[in-house]
């Protein structure tokens, strides 16, 4: 690591974050469970398999089209459990609040957390509150942790070790809504748009696919770093490659327009309600059909497949038929989106 201090990029979920985790956190916390670096820690207590995860939310602005920091804090943790193949059950929450924060805003946030938890079928069972001096944090930061029961048949879903050539790659809908909604909600750009965050709990959608019996080999929610980061992580170090067809990615017109103006690639923009699945080739259509029946998956599509060529790398066929690799996000595309 060349840097001797923490930069914003270290929190971006991209390469700098990976370096920080590898060079500091794993170095000292080192243990076999952590080392798997899955979305949730996979635990076994007596004979029960559990998934356990935690996430902190520092989004700015705290209220944005399609959600707020509280809704995100519940959905994000529920999704981390769900993509691990777990049924989310209980959440904890910790609030760090800046002195002077309006109580009515806190109530709106907490109410939407409760609503989201109810939708997801989870209980928020423990919590903590700290208040810091004015200026010592930006309005409100929320941490949530969650625990869920892991489906025994899905123990390998986080690592994706059963992925094989011919498997299909699926995403449950349009990308880049969250990042662009946050950006347009920030006053500094003076851009007004109709873009809403896709922030949502995906556990019921995922459960439906699992229950259909489709052979799911891997799942991950595409949050910070966007779809591209999930795909390049999925391929990294593997003996297979990924082949993605850009023509099958759904990006809304307003998001496309805003990305064009700002020079962003939608594949790198954050989502808060998108899951990437790798499914056995012959089950892919069935999975899509199940997902299309759910409002959160009505635009679900097969976007690519696992191939033998270019092992360790994701390649995309661009909208014009050209080919190029997919790389991870480096540094921040946007500040504090989650």
């Amino acid at each position: 690591m060349r840097h001797n201090q923490v930069l914003l990029g270290h929190g971006s979920g991209g390469k700098l974050s990976h370096d920080l985790i590898a060079n500091i956190f794993i170095k000292y916390f080192d243990n076999p469970i952590l080392k798997q670096q899955t979305d949730s820690a996979l635990l076994k207590v007596d004979s029960q398999h559990l998934a356990y995860t935690t996430d902190s939310y520092v989004v700015d602005p705290i209220f944005f089209p399609g959600g707020n920091i509280g809704k995100m804090a519940v959905a994000g943790t529920v999704n981390d459990l769900a993509v691990s193949g777990a049924k989310p059950l209980y959440l904890s929450t910790g609030f760090i609040i800046e002195e002077g924060f309006p109580l009515n805003e806190l109530e709106i946030i907490v109410k939407s957390m409760a609503e989201e938890a109810e939708k997801a079928g989870v209980l928020i069972v423990t919590g903590d509150t700290k208040v810091v001096d004015r200026g010592k944090c930006d309005k409100i930061f929320i941490n949530t942790s969650g625990i869920g029961i892991l489906n025994e048949k899905l123990l390998d879903i986080s690592s994706g070790i059963n992925i094989s050539i011919g498997d299909k790659i699926i995403i449950n809908g349009r990308i880049a809504d969250h990042g662009m909604a946050i950006l347009s909600a920030r006053n500094e750009l003076n851009i007004s748009s109709t873009i809403e965050s896709d922030c949502a709990c995906l556990n019921h959608l995922i459960e439906a696919v699992i229950e259909s019996g489709a052979n799911i080999k891997f799942m991950r929610d595409a949050t910070r770093g966007g779809l591209a980061t999930v795909l390049s992580e999925l391929a990294a170090g593997k003996d297979y490659g990924l082949s993605i067809d850009e023509a099958h990615l759904v990006v809304s017109e307003p998001v496309k327009g805003m990305c064009e103006i700002l020079g962003f690639d939608p594949m790198y923009v954050a989502n808060e309600g998108k899951v990437v699945l790798v499914v056995n080739g012959k089950d892919a259509k069935k999975a899509i059909k199940i997902m299309n029946d759910n409002p959160l998956g009505k635009e679900a599509a097969i976007i690519g497949e696992i191939v033998a060529e270019h092992p360790g790398k994701g390649w995309i066929t661009t909208s014009i038929g050209g080919k190029r690799i997919i790389d991870m996000l480096t540094g921040e595309q946007l500040p504090r989106i989650c």
Binding site: G9, I316, T318, I320
Partner: protein, 360 residues
């Protein structure tokens, strides 16, 4: 998306590729001058669609790539001064200076703000009357007019705490210097945005004297392929000339208002380019009339001795003599998250574009 999708049409692209294949009979090397073109070419995977005899090389049109490391060192020195707010376009904050970056100074507490328009800097100046607001003006004829607008507006509004630190450069001297250096190219994909301001006249000498075709191109795949086709046809016939492919935006005479503003605020000076050295009349210096907005003149600062990295091929790459893949640091000692040269940091940099889109 209207006005964009038409230029990314797969059918049209296939037709153009077919025409290029038919028109092109001998090996040819074309240089895309502009970093925006490099980005688009790599992002859409255009090289994978072209016949093998057509080689595209990247040129010196990435503003932060051709700027000197001393410029970054001086920006870092400004950032360390008390009561200074640095305002800049995003790409610049991660460019390595000799011992620091603006990003690192920001983490240490310097007030460094990414803005999207020079008018944001003027607003910051108005909101912070006790601070000195330095805008890092970087780029070619494309961004220089907006820096000029910043100074003209500051002057009109009586803002006295706004300063421009200019690294602005003009494109044509670098394009002729590359040919003078003996770099073997057969035509220029000429920059679209620069030409929007300057018009097409600035390339006349390149076609007339240097006998190299220049086609001013837009930034979408259809634009780029159409421009390549036009250059190939010129090359095959042996009739180099200046043509405008990007005619929906670029007019032969350019943007006269912007040209007039440029001329009001700036005068030409000899300037240093990475890879090309000092080129006569290639940089933009603030005229004496507006000296009180010139950061270099108004805010003296001590700058550390500049150290260039050994082994970095940025200079050769900017001239099109080498490609990023020829550099032994590429992808190993030098990556976007841990860059050595500016070409790896800027999203318009050839190394960055190759790293992200074309690493095998």
């Amino acid at each position: 998306m209207k006005y964009i999708d038409e230029y990314r049409d797969r059918e049209l692209v296939l037709k153009l590729i077919d025409q290029i294949n038919k028109a092109s009979t001998k090996p040819v090397t074309l240089m895309e001058v502009c970093g925006g073109h490099t980005m688009a070419i790599q992002k859409f995977g255009i090289p994978s669609l072209l016949p093998e005899n057509i080689k595209l090389v990247s040129g010196p049109g990435c503003p932060v790539c051709v700027s000197s490391r001393k410029y970054i060192d001086q920006s870092v020195a400004y950032a360390k001064l008390p009561n200074v707010i640095i305002t800049t376009y995003g790409d610049l904050i991660r460019i390595p200076g000799s011992s620091s970056t603006l990003d690192e100074e920001k983490a240490k507490g310097a007030d460094v703000r990414i803005i999207y328009s020079v008018l944001d800097a003027l607003k910051i100046a108005k909101d912070n009357p006790k601070k000195k607001i330095i805008f890092l003006g970087i780029g070619f004829e494309t961004t220089a007019p907006s820096s000029a607008v910043g100074i003209i507006n500051a002057h009109k509004q009586g803002i006295t705490n706004f300063f421009l630190f200019s690294s602005h450069k003009v494109m044509p001297p670098a394009m002729t210097a590359i040919i003078d250096e003996g770099v073997k190219i057969d035509g220029y994909i000429a920059p679209g945005h620069v030409s929007t301001i300057t018009g097409s006249g600035i390339y006349k000498d390149i076609a007339d004297i240097y006998k190299l075709g220049c086609v001013i191109s837009g930034f979408e795949p259809v634009d780029l392929l159409q421009s390549i086709l036009m250059l190939i046809r010129q090359f095959e016939k042996g009739e180099p000339k200046v043509e405008i492919e990007y005619s929906r935006v670029v007019k032969p005479e350019g943007n006269l208002k912007a040209q007039q503003m440029l001329d009001e605020v700036f005068e030409l000076k000899d300037d240093w380019w990475r890879g090309l050295g000092i080129l006569p009349k290639s940089g933009l210096k603030i005229r004496d009339l507006y000296k009180k907005y010139d950061a270099e003149f108004m805010i003296p600062v001590e700058v550390e001795a500049t150290r260039e990295d050994k082994g970095c091929l940025c200079g050769e790459i900017l001239k099109g003599l080498k490609t990023p893949k020829d550099c032994k640091l590429f992808g190993k000692g030098c990556t976007p998250s841990d860059p050595v040269g500016a070409c790896m940091v800027s999203h318009e940099g050839a190394c960055n574009a190759y790293y992200r889109f074309n690493r095998e």
